[in-house]
Symmetry: C2
């Protein structure tokens, strides 16, 4: 293996591919990136048990001799980041010992045999559909935060993607709050899968420009084709809970309020609350709306929501300040609407008169 | 106690005074800031066992009723940071319960009696001298990093300030490297003290503009007067080691080199070295100068220092890459000079033909 390559082109590819590397992998070879230098380009591959990323570089490269090697992700990335010069020369000099030179620097890095790297099936099989990369990114950003941190119900640690009747519905819930985003799609297909949170987090970092991406959905995995990148992720086994009751229940009492005014009030009202539970109380009536919290040890705070319009019977409801703030940020509109049924029932947060992003927060009992 | 105050004026003062607060103080009252509202201004005081900071606000304040209270540093700072509005109203409403209001927010914060706050003697006693605040800041920034992290020799955890014959000499060493900065001063006094690293770190954050500051040096403490701020710090007991041998020893072999070229080479050469010891090897001769490191497991790196000029016998010396990088950054000149005597002797780093900042690094034995 012997090639010269534009340093920044290689750095960008290594940075993205290395997202699939688990530095704590039980299989040492998986802490590396596989370099396959073919006659028409350099193929870089990294993988852990959940996600695999592969890209091909065929511009900015001069191929002197084909070959392959696996190099430590950590060291090759740091070397290419810190080495001087526009062009880097990379060459296997002895077995798997790989020499990286540029300007006045010479690195000899111990590699591993590419033969020992697991084979990964990146074939384009399964149900195919396409969508805009920025739409995909937006969906993830508006749902991912609501996935569960607990491994007790694995299915809740991912985002549920359901496609039926030209409609994509994405749901995340940790069973204390829920985020649901819907979007029409062109392709006429059906599936119902759960993609791990970690994989989605890596994928949105590979998306850099607005382009069409292709998805190939199989029973146990999905392949994403994003420009020059192939990303394969496993799916989470198990049936995602039916959450339709939570989003259908409209609630008859409504409050509309400026999002940033409410975010400011939440941030102040939660200052004195217990950092763990972060519970605040909302007291509503057509005359006055107060967001408050109380701690016997520290003190109390009352925020008068002068910019809120409430329609309904007077009521008081307690909930996690963080969950409401997450929901408001996910919606991202200037004004938001909250819909309540009663004190101990979940309430919904949406934009004004729109339902493509529905957030649900469960109240907590206070005494 | 009852006053209205400009929010940003109070926030700035609280931010600076709270630097003396230890959130883990064994004395709970010391996690607070003392508010003393006198007829001519608001005095804010905070203290831990090492450092005390006090300031007086007499602009941007309307005093309605004098009084005093101690408020939790953490909460009052967060409240004043997050509350809306230009002006804040602060009032003791019941015993030590303190009400903070602004726009639509109302906070009731439990306080403590100011009587329980320890008395701190901030009188201007001791040997007095003045210097420019930016000179003081520069000295600290150029020495502080070389103090010891180990508590085994407490005197090395501070910076030694020696004044004699109109000359201030500041020294820090962890016994593996040393930083010494000298500066002429006008006042005709003598002292030899060691100021704790932590206090110096707080003091440079209080300095915001170039002005004269006053120092009052006593046996066990120093008082700094920085604009509206009084800062009192304890000194570290014990005799600081005599390090003059290290800085007098000039060395007969010299290398001069562009600082940023050497910093770049150090950063790359240390990439493959053990992160803990971070040892690199410098091989010098009039023909070629190589900075290298080797790890049996990972690989090796050689940096050719093409911009170095070496005068002396061929020699090889090994040392901590981090210590040399720290020294070069402390000197901060475009070109630096290294002076060597022999393989196992300390070497000096200075600017070209200047001695107001002398850095010393001890080599390590390698095999």
């Amino acid at each position: 293996m012997d090639f010269n390559i534009n340093r920044l082109v290689l750095l960008d590819a290594l940075t993205k591919v290395s997202r699939a590397v688990s530095l704590k992998s039980p299989l040492p070879i998986l802490t590396g990136i596989k370099f396959d230098l073919l006659e028409d380009g350099l193929v870089l591959t990294a993988s852990d048990s959940d996600i695999s990323i592969q890209t091909t570089i065929n511009e900015g490269i001069i191929i002197n001799q084909t070959g392959s090697v696996v190099l430590s992700s950590k060291y090759i990335l740091e070397i290419i980041r810190k080495i001087d010069g526009d062009t880097v020369h990379i060459q296997v000099v002895d077995g798997t010992l790989t020499r990286i030179t540029s300007e006045s620097s010479l690195f000899d890095l111990n590699g591993s045999k590419s033969f020992d790297f697991p084979r990964i099936d990146l074939n384009k099989n399964g149900k195919h559909f396409s969508m805009k990369s920025y739409d995909f990114k937006k969906i993830i950003e508006k749902t991912l935060f609501a996935t569960s941190e607990q491994e007790t119900r694995p299915v809740l640690t991912g985002v549920n993607f359901k496609v039926d009747q030209h409609q994509l519905v994405c749901i995340a819930t940790d069973s204390y709050r829920l985020a649901q985003v819907s979007m029409p799609i062109e392709d006429d297909i059906q599936f119902n899968i759960v993609i791990p949170k970690k994989s989605l987090n890596q994928i949105i970092h590979i998306i850099e420009k607005d382009e069409m991406i292709d998805l190939y959905v199989s029973d146990r995995k999905v392949l994403f084709v994003i420009g020059q990148y192939l990303v394969l992720t496993r799916l989470i086994d198990g049936t995602y809970p039916n959450t339709s009751r939570l989003v259908e229940d409209q609630g008859s009492y409504t409050m509309s309020i400026n999002s940033s005014a409410l975010l400011g009030a939440i941030s102040r009202a939660s200052l004195l609350s217990d950092e763990q539970s972060n519970i605040v109380k909302l007291t509503m009536s057509p005359d006055e709306n107060i967001l408050s919290s109380y701690s016997q040890e520290i003190g109390s705070v009352e925020e008068n929501l002068t910019k809120a319009f409430y329609k309904g019977e007077p009521m008081t409801i307690s909930f996690s300040a963080k969950y409401l703030a997450d929901a408001i940020r996910s919606i991202g509109t200037e004004t938001i609407q909250l819909r309540f049924t009663e004190k101990m029932r979940p309430f919904q947060i949406t934009g004004l008169d729109v339902n493509d992003n529905i957030q649900v927060v469960l109240p907590v009992r206070t005494y």
